[in-house]
Amino acid sequence: MSLVLTEEQELLRDTARDFVQENFPVKAFRELRDARDPDGFDRKRWAELCELGWAGIPFDEAYGGAGLGYAELGVVLEELGRTLAATPLLATVALGGGAVALAGNETQKKEILSEVCAGKRLLALAFQETLHFSPGVVETTAVADAGAFRLTGTKRFVLDGHIAHTLIVSAKSEKGVGLFLVDAGAEGLTIERTNNVDSRNAATVTLAGAPAQALGDPARGGQVLEVVLDQGAIALSAEMLGGIQESFDRTLIYLKERDQFGAKIGSFQALKHRAADWFCEVELARSIVLQALRAVDTGGDDVAKLASAAKARSSDVYLHSGEEGVQLFGGIGMTDEEDIGLYLKRARVAELTLGDGGYHRDRYATLEGY
């Protein structure tokens, strides 16, 4: 698969860019934030986004999806990342939808994915229990109860947890680690939204004997989870790539506009060299993210390694981009009024979401056997 966009993908990118710039500009994100919107996203605009079919990009046409792949999902996520758009796309499509597509039985897929594609159902993947990303730790229990299960435990940092209609929860039953469907209104379920520094949605989810259905085979959840988290990390990296590119582009413009000492600050060689090194990092991040997205679609056995490579890279480069951006904007960059700081905040949260650079370098080494 080529690492440049096909004509169809370019068309999708152009459409996406227009739509996102129009409907999800940074200004819209600021409005949501400043209004302390209880949803944390814009339902009307999300509906419009779903009308474009984006929520169904990677899903089978049988479920109302577009039958496309991560290459296309990545195109859209990158554009959304450019404007810091707060949408449930990552949580509902890549994480939740991904889990259903991989683990669900036919009935579950039909029911849930159709509603996801139609923009009628939001999902959240509740898997993390520790403060540091460590997906192997599953203490939440699932006890069989009359053909169904009851779940008890606490999940942290559940992306879009408080707006999801359905939670997909990892838990340990007698058969091992499984994934379970929990209805947002279920008894014994408490969902507390957390206000994070990037003003996106996450929640702490507490389950006290909450009723649940197994998603597919309750013995296969551990394996599925690993694949879903890899795909999720790749999708998130695509979104981060948008933020990386945008913060770089904006800083570059500023370097060309800002006068100090009678010259554009972009004419100072020390800043030029930093910009040149930064440019290399942006380009390398783009390459590995594109390769990882395509690997999901071709289903090669290198997806795990590429997921770690892409997430490690985008984590480090995004944080660097936020930091360099604020520093080079100088005092202006420290003000809330200037957008560049928003990218720094998003970079921080995105870095820790689904594993930071340190985690993924460690994992890469493990996958490589050293």
Binding site: F157, F261, G262, L271, G330, I332, G333, T335, L352
Partner: protein, 400 residues
Amino acid sequence: MADLETFRADTRAWLEANCPEEMRKPMKAAGDVQWGGRNREFSSDEQRIWLERMSEKGWTVPTWPEDCGGAALSNAEAKVLKQEMRALNCRTPLMSFGIMMLGPVVLEYGTEAQKREFLPPIARGEIRWCQGYSEPGAGSDLASLQCRAARDGDEYVVNGQKFWTSEAHLSDWIFCLVRSNPKASKHDGISFLLIDMDDPGVEATPIELISGASMFCQTFFDDVRVPVSNRIGDEDAGWTIAKKLLQHEREMLSDPAGGGSPTGARKRGTLADDARKSLGAAEGPLPDADLRDRIARVELDQLCYNATLRRSADGAKAGRGVGPETSMFKLYLSELNKRKSDLRVRVRGVNGLGWSGDSFARDDLAATREWLNSKAESIAGGTSEIQRNIIAKRVLGLPD
């Protein structure tokens, strides 16, 4: 030396007799720091009494002359006072830009009349000052400032705006760099003016920072009339004062014991403790090798930095000047503090991502905000880029 020991004994006796018990306990809230000013409020009677007693004694500004509100102490005596206050855990009775920044300038460049007019109210905490240097278009290149002071008889008419005027909305007066001569070369047309913020035409609007804090303002001047007698130093000679102030500010910012670095000053659990807690790890090496290495790097850097500070202090004692190496301290410390603040967030895992709300502990939220605030360390008081320029030129002698 015998005199100094007598002074020490007297000082201790006085402090023991006069410093209220309450004022010897660690501060608990931001309001426990007294900044003075027309609208000053005291968090307690003890705080008020302590300030009154200290300022009456001239010990809020111990080295200043007596007719300026000070006690005319020698540097050695002032040091003894500091040591004794520390020994009894006495709180600083008054903090202010007036004491730290403006006072030394007025003492060096002001007329006798100016000293007697402006300094005693500073010493008594009656007037709170803020600084007006930067402008939206004049950051690193401060000398390109545009805020205009046109001479009109015995007055200047000031028009323009200042950026980063710290706590201007809480201050009474502002000391400003203004352009008094637009025709002169950029360094030669600047004057140093003192402006009452109650004057018509002055307006301060807080700036919201990325951390959510708003301790800085944008301050606007619209036909503000300032008497020529409020100018410190000669007309058009303000840049000399500005350079002195900047050097002074750099020194403050590079001293972790000083007010400059909240990151360095605040005491909390160590990084390793926080990491161990958030990782839920038992004793022994932390299970996250990356985090462990980051902590060790930052701690070793801090150790080396502290050793360098100590070496510099020892050098000063041995009669060797400090000079532009100050830029090295400012540069290194601000970059180090940024990394430390980053790490303070990182060791908390997702608990370090909070912005507000009860789901996060106060410490966690403070760490996040401080991380964002720390980004200003390499910008304010001369960016790291400016410090590198200064080191290259003044310390290393590299050519232009």
